[in-house]
Amino acid sequence: MRRILANIAGQLLALFAQFITAPRADWRGIEPTARQRIYFANHTSNADLPIVWTVLPPALRRVTRPVAAADYWLKTKARAFIGPEVFRAILIDRRSEHQTEDPIAKIVAALDEGASIIIFPEGGRNRSDDPLLPFKAGLYNIAKARPEIDLVPTWIDNIASVMPSGEVIPVPLGCTVVFGSPLHVTEGESKDAFLTRSAAALTALMPMRDPGQEAAS
């Protein structure tokens, strides 16, 4: 029953996101095919996850699970329904003193069940003027644990103007989600080298804008 309800809520959420921002998927480096993937994306707004979720074709959406913060998603009853049930999120507690199991092991277990995952490797929302915060080690550890799975850089564009952090009402502006070419951790690559390389692959997908708008956003 709850499963069905969560399903309907998911459909409604996707419909609402489509109506508000008419998000567009730009499959630049990959095709939207049923292949196991780790999508890693920039994170500026609470609307990031729903937008990526919405642009994935339903068949892919069903097998894709986001990695999300337990301390955020378990705070209220509504969130506890949307996060774990609608998105079927893999909940990770960011506060190490609350961690009961190894977060990487939890994510790898989900991958071993065949799920694709969406992960925000900055570890939190980016409120700075830089396009990306330095990546946390998590992405490297997952890539190292399952090196055969494609890591897809996923740039979410313009969402910060739709719903800047601290705002509640979304402005209906167009959003684009750009999927880049997959990458893998190479033999003997150090953690820092890999994280720099993957962050560069992500920022490379950022659309070019005139300097004025860059400064303003």
Partner: protein, 319 residues
């Protein structure tokens, strides 16, 4: 069909719809023949774009015909939806900061619905000034109280220009139904058909003749429009205006002259919106209409022509 629409009005709409379908059938058959002939050499990008565009045209003709037959609420709903999509495309490309959040919310959730509500109520005194007076004065206030002065003038004026084009000008298309014309009651919905058909068919004639005979560009690299194309477009639009005089309150010569004026303003509007795209480094405003780009790409010329057409008609023919 609503009871207050005279049968002769709905008959006229059906006749126009039939004529538009006939044109589209010819164009579709031509497209399929071209596709078949070229199939041996693999698919041809120009023909594929042409066929995609035709599919969109079929959709647009059906939507417009249904809206016109429903009457006032039909056209207001259709153009309100298009207006919303256009505003979203426009404001996606404008400069803004976090401080503009309330102003943008007001633009989408207050200015846009109120403008269409005023049109629906037929409050022509108010809908002609609501955006340029109230919206233009209040939105910058909403931005300034959030206290961010970076690029202030460009942020404020770009938002306002978006509202002007996508809400104010666009709402003058459905506003034509509110006009009281001397000696022809219940026929003002046909003015929308006149405006849209004249301007869009002129554009199509310009596009295809321009591709074939075009030499000299009108606005250098800002737009592919050529003098030759616009010359043939003008002939087509004026001729069509003359042909369609019977659906308007105009005499044949006045219909031709008005068609000429709205077509030329439409060409200008299309150039202006191309320049904005050029400035922002994009090829089209959006992606929602297959083969055409966005709603702003589809409506640019009609939107520019609408307020001029509205006021010309009201001044010379209004009761």
């Amino acid at each position: 069909m609503i009871p207050d629409m005279p049968t002769e009005t709905s008959t006229s709409i059906v006749v126009l719809f039939g004529a538009a379908c006939a044109l589209l059938i010819v164009a579709t058959i031509a497209g399929e023949i071209l596709r078949y002939r070229l199939a041996r050499h693999g698919s041809h990008p120009t023909v594929e774009t042409y066929v995609t565009r035709l599919h969109s045209w079929w959709g647009l003709v059906f939507l417009l015909a249904i809206a016109l037959l429903v009457g006032r609420s039909g056209v207001i709903l259709l153009f309100a939806f298009a207006s919303f999509a256009a505003l979203r495309e426009f404001l996606t490309l404008t400069r803004k900061t976090k401080a503009d959040h309330w102003a943008l919310i007001a633009a989408f959730y207050v200015v846009f619905p109120v403008q269409y509500l005023l049109v629906w109520m037929g409050a022509d005194g108010l809908f002609s000034i609501f955006v340029p007076v109230y919206a233009f004065l209040i939105l910058p206030i909403l931005s300034v109280i959030r206290g961010d002065g970076r690029d202030f003038l460009s942020r404020v004026s770009e938002t306002q220009w978006g509202l002007m084009i996508c809400v104010f000008c666009a709402s003058h298309i459905p506003a034509l139904v509110t006009l009281d014309i001397e000696g022809s009651t219940g026929r003002s919905v046909l003015l929308i058909a006149f405006l849209v058909l004249v301007v869009q068919l002129g554009d199509l004639a310009e596009y295809y003749t321009g591709r074939r005979f075009g030499k000299k560009r009108l606005a250098s690299d800002l737009s592919p429009k050529t003098r030759e194309g616009v010359f043939y477009g003008t002939l087509a639009a004026t001729g069509l205006g003359l042909l369609l005089f019977w659906i308007t309150p105009f005499t044949p010569w006045a219909a031709a002259l008005i068609a000429l004026i709205i077509y030329l303003i439409g060409v200008g509007g299309s150039l202006v919106l191309s320049a904005i795209k050029h400035d922002r480094g994009v090829k089209s405003w959006g992606h929602l209409i297959p083969g055409q780009g966005g709603f702003v790409d589809q409506m640019d010329s009609v939107v520019f022509a609408a307020p001029v057409f509205f006021h010309l008609t009201r001044y010379f023919y209004g009761a």
